[in-house]
């Protein structure tokens, strides 16, 4: 994998911030977009823009073909042999399950099991569903190694829904989702995997995982914002009522009733994000061309290097497992005596973009006893030089905060 060649496909990485070339290390929040993705979307608007599934004319046929092609590409990419529904993001995909399947099937006293490391998007929809249904929400805890404790998996037995992140957006922990889904299937729970942080970075095989549902988002995997997807078990989806009603999700409409369209259209009401979907298709092409195993290898290498480099800095605490087979390219850290927001602002002055705060995972921070953390997260265009710049900038932040004030010198 040639990082220097890849970098050339991302015009934004040439930009300067505060007079310095941008070092983008906030990939867990969103990725940058290669020229190929931007151009695929431009092409629609310049060359053949029309609404999909409607017009009996050239442009509409062309747009529909590209739109449905993107679906096929994505299905191949995650090895879905069931259905893939386009949503606006992973949150919408997860809400779709919570509202459509949850409303019909969850009863008082039922248990919904999550992990303590969930992003708010895979927590709040279930929390609200539990409130509406008087169901119980339970969390599988982590051990000192920041991985789910083996014994906590027992909570899955007898649960109605098990919803877990494939990769934690804070810790970078890769959860044993195959084992979790198998246990859920055996014990009669439906399994939901939030793949927002895994799909961009490793080979995802939903058929092998045997999950009932898998949510992902396009903008973290080189695609545009506003497009996500839900892979779902066809049998379950068939039985589920629509999440949103409107155009395109119906085949017959009368004044007093409607007949739903077939899958996946039943869950795609209204004009979809056509350009976004085509952009996501182009992103899938781009990632596939490099190869997900290559990407994973590159990220393990850079993550290992970053852990080693930052561990060497005094006053820097790192969190997350060191078992690389269970670790994605996300590094949460704190700098002693410097609040994460101050670290992030000082790094920004050096042109380095990291995230600071609770990263939409407040319960995890509470569990860890931390108000906030810094987070550096890597992708295909990052290299060791970026890690070196990060380490230097952290040293600089430490220096600014450790120098005694003038009056005490």
């Amino acid at each position: 994998m040639d990082v220097n060649r890849i970098k050339k496909d991302f015009p934004i990485l040439e930009k300067e911030v505060n007079g310095k070339k941008i070092v983008y290390l906030d990939n867990a929040a969103t990725s940058q977009k290669p020229r190929q993705v931007i151009e695929a979307m431009d092409e629609l608007y310049y060359e053949y823009n029309a609404n999909v599934h409607r017009g009996i004319y050239r442009f509409s046929e062309q747009a529909t073909e590209k739109y449905e092609n993107a679906r096929e590409k994505l299905k191949r990419f995650i090895n879905s042999k069931e259905e893939v529904i386009f949503t606006k993001n992973a949150s919408e995909a997860l809400n779709l399950i919570a509202y459509s399947w949850g409303e019909e099937n969850v009863r008082k006293g039922d248990r919904i099991v999550l992990t303590v490391m969930e992003h708010h998007s895979n927590l709040v929809p279930w929390q609200q569903l539990a409130k509406r249904k008087k169901a119980k929400l339970e969390f599988m805890d982590i051990g000192d190694d920041y991985e789910i404790k083996e014994s906590e998996l027992d909570k899955i037995r007898g649960a109605k829904i098990v919803a877990v992140c494939h990769v934690s957006n804070v810790l970078g922990t890769i959860n044993p989702v195959k084992e979790i889904c198998e246990l859920a299937n055996e014990t009669g729970a439906i399994s939901v995997v939030d793949g927002a942080q895994s799909t961009p970075h490793m080979k995802v095989d939903v058929s092998r995982m045997k999950c009932d549902f898998f949510a992902l988002t396009g903008h973290k995997m080189l695609g545009p914002t506003g497009i996500g997807a839900l892979h779902g078990n066809r049998e379950l989806l068939e039985k589920m009522p629509p999440f949103m009603a409107g155009g395109d999700m119906v085949v017959e409409v009368y004044q007093d009733r409607s007949v739903w369209n077939g899958l996946p259209h039943k869950f795609e009401a209204g004009t979809p994000n056509i350009a976004g979907t085509i952009g996501l298709g182009a992103a899938v092409d781009y990632l596939s061309k490099i190869g997900m195993d290559e990407i994973r290898k590159h990220e393990i290498e850079i993550t290992k290097y970053a852990i080693q480099r930052l561990e060497g800095l005094s006053g820097v605490s790192l969190y997350g497992t060191k078992r690389m087979e269970r670790r994605a390219g996300i590094i949460p850290f704190n700098v002693k005596g410097v609040h994460p927001h101050d670290v992030a602002t000082l790094l920004d002055e050096e042109g380095i973009a990291i995230r600071s705060g609770h990263h939409c995972a407040m319960p995890l921070h509470t569990r860890l006893g931390l108000d906030a953390t810094n987070r550096a997260s890597f992708y295909i265009y990052n290299d060791r030089k970026d890690v070196d710049k990060l380490a230097e900038a952290i040293e600089n932040a430490k220096k600014i905060f450790s120098e005694p004030p003038a009056t005490q010198r």
Binding site: H339, P340, H341, D342, T345, L346, D348, E349, S356, G357, H358, M362, H365, D371, A372, I400, F401, E403, P404, P405, A406, T407, Q408
Partner: protein, 121 residues
């Protein structure tokens, strides 16, 4: 040298003013900035209708803490009505840093104003 973390700011950060609690406070409130985990608890004591003593406790980033230090000092001698009438610009003038390029940090700077408005209803 950093644009934001100038010597003046770092000096106040390391030597906070009015840090602590007041046992007998006439006004008291707490505000959180959930985005950062910043927290400021404010205590105000009046004498002859004017703010005699102000203290704050809390934790958070340098900007929120420095702003609280300078702001509490500024409040002394003001009537609650005068304090209540204070605006965003007043607090930004006190901390003397340009946050125009860092709008996300504005909330940190304004946290002590928010807690004051909560305290003096």
């Amino acid at each position: 040298m950093s644009d934001i973390y100038q010597e003046f700011i770092m000096e106040v950060y390391k030597n906070p003013l009015n840090f602590g609690k007041l046992e007998k406070a006439d006004f008291k409130a707490v505000s959180l900035n959930p985005l950062c985990g910043d927290k400021i608890e404010l205590y105000i004591r009046l004498e002859n209708g004017k703010i005699k003593d102000v203290r704050y406790t809390g934790s958070g980033c340098a900007i929120s803490q420095v702003s609280a230090s300078l702001f509490t000092e500024f409040l002394k001698g003001k009537t609650p009505e005068e304090a209540k009438a204070l605006k965003k610009e007043d607090i930004l003038r006190l901390i003397k840093i340009d946050l125009s390029k860092n709008p996300s940090r504005m909330k940190c700077a304004l946290l002590s104003l928010e807690v004051l408005k909560k305290a003096i209803l």
